[in-house]
């Protein structure tokens, strides 16, 4: 415990000296987030300084091994770092699919050369990755994907298309599921490839969302040449990697539901906007009751995320299939949270453009959350995983 306390003190002092004041203010939208990548334009000097300093310590990925650009911190030390960052309102220096998804998969399945090549670049925010999983006819039934990779001696030739590829138009590289065996059962003919979005034959086309933004794309592959060295793991065994990666993705998406804890709760927002009675209670009894129940669930859910992580760390494993619990519960909670924020907003939640609503920040945020229970596997698919794998209920 003493060593951990010492670490806390050092961390606090370092953060205090190194986190720029501007990086201690709340993030107000997607464009405040540092995603990194070859073409990333920093919003401010402070954002760049913060990334550089944190990356130099390995603290953009504090739990990864030092030799791959991480901080080499223990589970408990990572918690302390996060707590200390939260205490001063420090922003995350870097967010990316590389950190959330590809990194953990490469640590578990990548070759030494692949780890050396890709992990430090992810840690420093130099390469931005996107995820090529879903296809027009392979959504929940992901394993039925049809994008093909033909064996051409020392390389593959990739042809097909992906859809809903988040930030494909901004990403530098893609981790992509392709079919390498058409005769095997569907789960046993899939491979996991890495390639560059600038290579010949790759193109993207943005898709407009109901929130009015275009964060994701259709992605087309027209005979893309991919060296065999870019295959991760074993040929035709990519499904194992795909699933492992999804457990990390789901844990991360589910964690968004804990947002109730981090920022102001919808109850505090509503109390500000609607007002309170003489006792300090939100002046809308119906809304107050619903927000209170959501608050109970949010706090109980935050404890669940912490418990799962602590149990995983003390057992030396990941969260595994229980990521489906976090994904399901956390995303449904986040949708509820935004429904409550819209109820609190009333008429003020109807403005779509204009300065006073920050271009309809509230309704656009509300609409965005509707995707939470779809992206990364739908709520129905999560419930299937819980029923089949955790509860071992029989197949139909």
């Amino acid at each position: 415990m003493d060593a951990l306390e010492a670490f806390r003190r050092e961390t606090r002092a370092w953060l205090d000296a190194n986190c720029p004041a501007e990086m201690r203010t709340p993030v107000s939208g997607d464009d405040d987030i540092c995603w990194g990548g070859r073409n990333f334009v920093f919003k401010s000097e402070a954002q760049k300084v913060w990334l550089t300093r944190m990356a130099a310590r390995g603290w953009t990925v504090p739990g990864w091994p030092k030799e791959y650009g991480g901080g080499g911190l223990s589970h408990e030390e990572v918690k302390v770092l996060k707590e200390e960052m939260r205490a001063i309102g420090a922003r995350s220096p870097l967010e990316s699919f590389g950190i959330w998804m590809l990194g953990p998969a490469l640590l578990a399945f990548g070759s030494e050369a692949q780890k050396q090549e890709h992990l430090p670049r992810i840690a420093r925010g130099e390469i931005r990755w996107c995820q090529g999983y879903s296809e027009p006819n392979a959504g929940s039934d992901l394993a039925s994907l049809q994008t093909r990779a033909e064996d051409a001696g020392d390389h593959f030739v990739v042809t097909g298309s992906k859809i809903w590829t988040s930030y494909a138009d901004k990403a530098d590289m893609i981790f992509c599921l392709v079919r390498t065996d058409f005769s095997a059962p569907k789960h046993l003919g899939i491979s996991f490839l890495l390639f560059d979005m600038t290579w010949a034959g790759v193109s993207t086309k943005p898709i407009l969302l109901i929130s009015g933004k275009s964060p994701f794309c259709e992605t087309f592959f027209d005979g893309v040449t991919v060296p065999k060295a870019n295959l991760v793991g074993t040929l035709n065994r990519g499904w194992d990697i795909a699933k492992y990666l999804l457990t990390h993705e789901r844990e991360m998406i589910g964690g968004g539901g804990g947002g109730l804890l981090g920022g102001r709760s919808p109850g505090q927002v509503a109390a500000n906007e609607i007002g309170t009675d003489g006792e300090g209670k939100l002046a809308d009894a119906f809304l107050r009751a619903d927000v209170a129940r959501a608050e109970v669930d949010a706090l109980a859910f935050a404890a669940t995320m912490a418990r799962y992580k602590d149990e995983a760390a003390s057992g030396g494993k990941g969260v595994g299939d229980r990521s489906a619990v976090l994904k399901y519960y956390g995303t449904e909670l986040n949708k509820r949270r935004h429904e409550l924020l819209m109820r609190a907003a009333g008429h003020e939640g109807l403005e779509w453009e204009g300065a006073r609503s920050n271009d309809g920040e509230r309704p656009r945020g509300w609409l965005r959350t509707k995707a939470n229970s779809i992206e990364g596997g739908t709520s129905e698919v999560m419930l299937d995983i819980v029923a089949k794998r955790l509860l071992q209920l029989p197949n139909a």
Partner: protein
């Protein structure tokens, strides 16, 4: 770390073994069918004392085990799985918390060894009406000579029908609705003017309605501070609420587990009903809720061990969540069992009945959601 440590895991294993052998659901049926007036089995309570459970919250230097709230909660959770009837909550948790933290040396000497030995049962008498409302306490304790004279009625006093003494909240100043002006007294049940009526309750464990008709006590009966008993009462209730939340978590886990077993076994339309996605998704949703309730309970127990006075938010989250989840688990259990779920022959209905009692006591899901809202500023 939100995990049990090695000692706590050992205690959990021991508790599970003990209750499944000595106090399975069949033991509750026996208490019900034989109309045992205490609402629990005194021999079982003595065996629990031999296991050390009665001293789980009594510090080691006062003769207990000092296992803390996580340890106590682990025992409650296991008793929740088997619907074990015992005065653990009233005596080993609430009274032991009050006396070990705020009892006078004489009170400690008189009662703590008796609690640890399994010889004394002490009930907490707080509520006076249909809703849990500690600040609404109206019962008066008027100064009288060197002592006090208590007048009023306490209802649904858990284990009151079997108690040797009651820890009673009464008003020495102020008006009902105020947190100031409350004091706690420890009154032996044989004291003149104190009468008890046994209430038969749906969980078969019973409770008492206690009438204080000018009951005279000396100043030595006061536990803690005169007029400023509310903070202590909150800590004592915190112990009770957390214990009930842990019990409800055990109750929910068990009725859920029994339901899953039934889904794997019962066949209709030529297949096991657990293969129907409509039931799978409800089962999966319920599992998630049970998991979330378990986490909230552990967080509350740990918070109580860290700082009992600062744990009220975590305790309310746990009591609110465990109450509503145990309710959902009981409802789904009956529904997914079909007709057999409605019969007295299987135990599912007993879990539902106890759920109703445990979720109502010391504040239901709404009461605690309201407290969470206040604590969070709205």
């Amino acid at each position: 770390m939100l995990v049990l440590n090695d000692d706590q895991v050992m205690l959990q294993d021991a508790a599970r073994g003990f209750v499944s052998e000595k106090a399975p659901v069949a033991a509750l049926r026996k208490i019900r069918d034989e109309k045992v007036t205490d609402g629990f089995d005194r021999d079982l309570w003595r065996s629990m004392a031999e296991m050390g459970w009665t001293g789980v919250l009594v510090p080691e230097d006062q003769g207990g085990l000092g296992f803390g709230f996580v340890g106590a909660g682990v025992i409650c959770e296991e008793m929740g799985r088997t619907l074990t009837a015992s005065p653990f909550l009233s005596t080993a948790m609430m009274a032991a918390t009050a006396l070990s933290r705020a009892g006078s040396p004489a009170q400690k000497e008189r009662w703590l060894p008796a609690i640890v030995a399994g010889e004394a049962v002490i009930a907490a008498a707080v509520d006076e009406g249909r809703r849990h409302d500690p600040a609404g306490t109206a019962m008066r304790a008027e100064r009288h000579g060197n002592g006090f004279r208590l007048s009023g009625t306490k209802t649904y006093v858990v284990d009151g029908q079997a108690a040797d003494a009651v820890l009673v909240a009464a008003r020495t100043a102020g008006a009902a609705g105020e947190t100031g002006g409350l004091s706690l007294f420890l009154v032996e049940t044989g004291t003149k003017g104190l009468s008890s009526e046994r209430l038969s309750t749906l969980d078969s464990r019973g409770a008492a309605e206690l009438t204080f008709d000018g009951v005279e006590v000396t100043a030595d009966a006061v536990v803690g501070e005169v007029d400023d008993g509310f903070p202590l009462l909150e800590v004592v209730l915190g112990a009770g609420r957390a214990g009930l939340a842990a019990e409800l978590s055990g109750n929910a886990q068990e009725s859920f587990g029994r339901t899953m077993a039934y889904l794997r076994e019962r066949k209709q339309f030529g297949r096991t009903i657990g293969a129907f996605q409509a039931l799978q998704h409800r089962a999966a949703h319920l599992f998630c809720e049970v998991e979330v309730a378990r986490s909230a309970v552990l967080a509350a127990l740990q918070a109580l061990d860290t700082d009992p006075a600062g744990a009220s938010l975590a305790v309310s989250v746990a009591k609110s969540k465990a109450s509503s989840v145990a309710r959902l688990a009981a409802q789904e259990a009956v529904q997914m069992h079909g007709g057999i779920g409605m019969t007295d022959a299987i135990d599912i209905g007993l879990f539902m009945k106890r759920m109703q009692v445990a979720s109502t006591l010391y504040g239901d899901a709404d009461f605690h959601a309201d407290r969470v809202a206040r604590a969070r500023g709205f």
